[in-house]
Amino acid sequence: MRTPIHRRTSAALRPAVLRTPGGLSMRVAPRTAAVVAALTVAALAVSVLLAGTGDYPMGPSAVLRTLAGQGTAAEEFIVLDLRLPRLLVALLTGVALGLAGAVFQAVSRNPLGSPDIIGFTEGTAAGALVAIVVLNGSSAVVAAGAVGGGVLTGLAVYLLAWRRGVHGYRLVLVGIGAAAMLGGVRHYLLTRADLVDAARAVLWMTGSLDGRDWSHVWPLLITCAVLVPVVLGRGRPLRMLEMGDDAARALGVAAERTRMVVMGAAVLLTAAATSAAGPIAFVALTAPQLARRLTRAAGPNLLPAAVMGALLMVAADLVAQQAFGDRRLPVGVLTGVLGGGYLLWLLWTERRAGRV
């Protein structure tokens, strides 16, 4: 993963250190701040467009007017009760996945180390499938199954990778092994289901935002409100950790504890996002990488990755609803296909640079 260091940043955008007379100092990175601001604006703009999209199209001004509480009763019902929950689920899922992806990539020290790939997503999918096929559960039971499966898998992978500390590579490989096993379980459950349940399960596994209401928003919002600050606060030690455990320890970072806290938070964020929207493919993989390329900053780029994740989700949902005419695809199909293409490109460039 070793970040290419871009030295061509102009002087105005180079990170600088602010010092106060009292001896406090703070590092500021104008470029990163600018990127975060631009991505936030873009995500909000796309959100407004998305809230106006559907069977009853509305212009951006109408949407904004309704959000400000000045719309007609019909408009308020459509925007606030139908589309806003879906929109919030998209944004929050994007934030959670982007952040979790950044954490996993930093801990595994590999641009491919995202929860998609190293087993946690497979764990949530298996948990949800048990809920759908075996328990025949409602959407709340499915969500609980997903969270349970994800957390159990995370715990199992962490413990199996433990050997006097968890090495990033071992974690990745153990995760791959666990993912393959859970994939077998998932296939088996799918063949045991009747066709209606199987179709429901496949739709769930693709990742979809259809029919999300406020009951999906609240758990996700609470999880994000608690865990996002926890992860963001660990940004500095995480950055030290990227240099390797020894260097990080020498700089005073409690390597194992930092890893445990951020990984626990990332697993919970992934589980919450998956229980709300299904396992959306590749957002966790691509968001941190795209953010990193925009900020050109070393380190895990946690905040830019989170905002980029939100932008990716709403943009993908907008395209999935509009691009194929009447046929509205689930958002997971679009992120899957785009993410797959991006992945191939990433593998190719990394190979040419001799890093894969």
């Binding site: 990745v172 092994g177 077998g184 379980v185 496949v202 739709l203 689930p330």
Partner: protein, 357 residues
């Protein structure tokens, strides 16, 4: 499968453990290795017999024998000759193909974690077959086997392009393969989501199963597998040279380019054909070559025959276990191999020093 692992253990005994470097084996080792191969073949015969004799309908061994030798057209004859026999044959062929492909791939990439299932070759074949079923409406085996080859070839070229560089460590290769697999399965899910009829066919196929085995599909796939086996047999010596590193191999007169192309062609033929009939099955090509290498040492002229004989032991054993555990229903063989293979993979990864090839 626990039964098969337990049975596989005695096969280790005849050969000295941790056999030496790639130098020509000492003469006294050859009888030991040949003896080991004979024991493995015996094991295979036992597992194959179990696969014919055991199943959801319990039939006494005597009746099974009668059905094979002198069929009279009873229900038992139908079960044995039209269900269990093709299934066993398919397990033999597909198991050998997957194990052999795994051994070839590990030799070619010199990477201990290279395995067609793990690196996405089977997923490539699956994605191409799903496209054929869902978009082109091709339902016959003869139609989609070509798509399976196409998909397997595309992914093996891609993986090799990624893995062939010097800096491709096992971890990077495994990650790249998993990423490719994830992307392809995302596509497979999307395709079957748009078409419920395809979903009904595909969910059984993507689990990896021997249950749909029929004599005519076996006959159709046989030429491809035979070509793959023949090619693999020719490759043992050149790949031994490749194992010494590019420069040494060239100095020894090996033709690197043509060896690589031929190996990838063999892997494509074997994996594409096996996946087309059974669906994607993981881990067979990973576990067996590792087990074999601990018996024979690194000489491919021994590894390949051992892999051909022992891989079907694993696959058929897994199939029999899957039939017995969930009787009267069954656990698909791909599910059983995944459940067995995952722990083996984690064990390999947890070892202090990863095996170097």
């Amino acid at each position: 499968m626990t039964a098969a692992t337990a049975d596989a253990a005695p096969a280790k005994d005849p050969a000295p453990p941790g056999a030496g470097p790639a130098a020509p084996p000492a003469p006294r080792r050859i009888p030991a290795r040949a003896g080991g191969l004979a024991v493995s073949a015996l094991l295979l015969a036992l597992v194959a017999a179990a696969s014919v004799a055991l199943g959801a309908k319990s039939i006494p061994p005597g009746d099974v024998w009668d059905s094979l030798v002198s069929p009279v057209g009873s229900d038992t004859d139908v079960v044995v000759r039209q269900l269990r026999l093709p299934r066993t044959l398919l397990g033999l062929l597909a198991g050998s193909a997957l194990g052999l492909a795994g051994a070839l791939m590990q030799a070619l990439t010199r990477n201990p974690l290279a395995e067609p299932g793990l690196l996405g070759v089977n997923a490539g074949a699956a994605a191409a077959v799903v496209s054929a079923m869902a978009f082109l409406g091709i339902g016959s085996f003869h139609g989609y086997v070509w798509f399976a080859f196409l998909g397997a070839a595309a992914v093996s070229v891609l993986v090799y392009a990624l893995a062939g560089t010097r800096s491709a460590t096992p971890v990077r290769l495994a990650l790249a393969g998993t990423a490719v697999t994830a992307a392809l399965y995302g596509y497979v899910n999307a395709a079957i989501l748009l078409d419920t009829a395809a979903l009904d066919r595909m969910r059984f196929w993507t689990a990896g199963s021997l249950a749909s085995a029929r004599m005519d599909t076996i006959v159709q796939v046989l030429p491809f597998l035979a070509a793959g086996f023949a090619l693999a047999a020719l490759l043992a010596r050149p790949l031994n040279a490749v194992a010494l590193g590019d420069d040494t191999a060239r100095a020894l007169g090996a033709r690197l380019g043509s060896t690589r192309i031929a190996t990838m062609a063999a892997v494509t033929l074997l994996c594409g054909a096996a996946t087309a009939v059974c669906g994607p099955i993981v881990f067979v090509g990973l576990i067996v070559p590792h087990l074999v290498r601990s018996i024979t040492g690194p000489d491919l002229r021994w590894i390949l025959p051992y892999a051909v004989v022992l891989s079907p032991v694993l696959l058929l054993g897994a199939d029999v276990v899957g039939r017995l555990v969930a009787a009267p229903s069954e656990l698909q063989v791909g599910v059983v191999t995944a459940l067995i293979g995952g722990p083996v993979f984690i064990f390999l990864v947890r070892r202090r020093r990863m095996v170097q090839l």
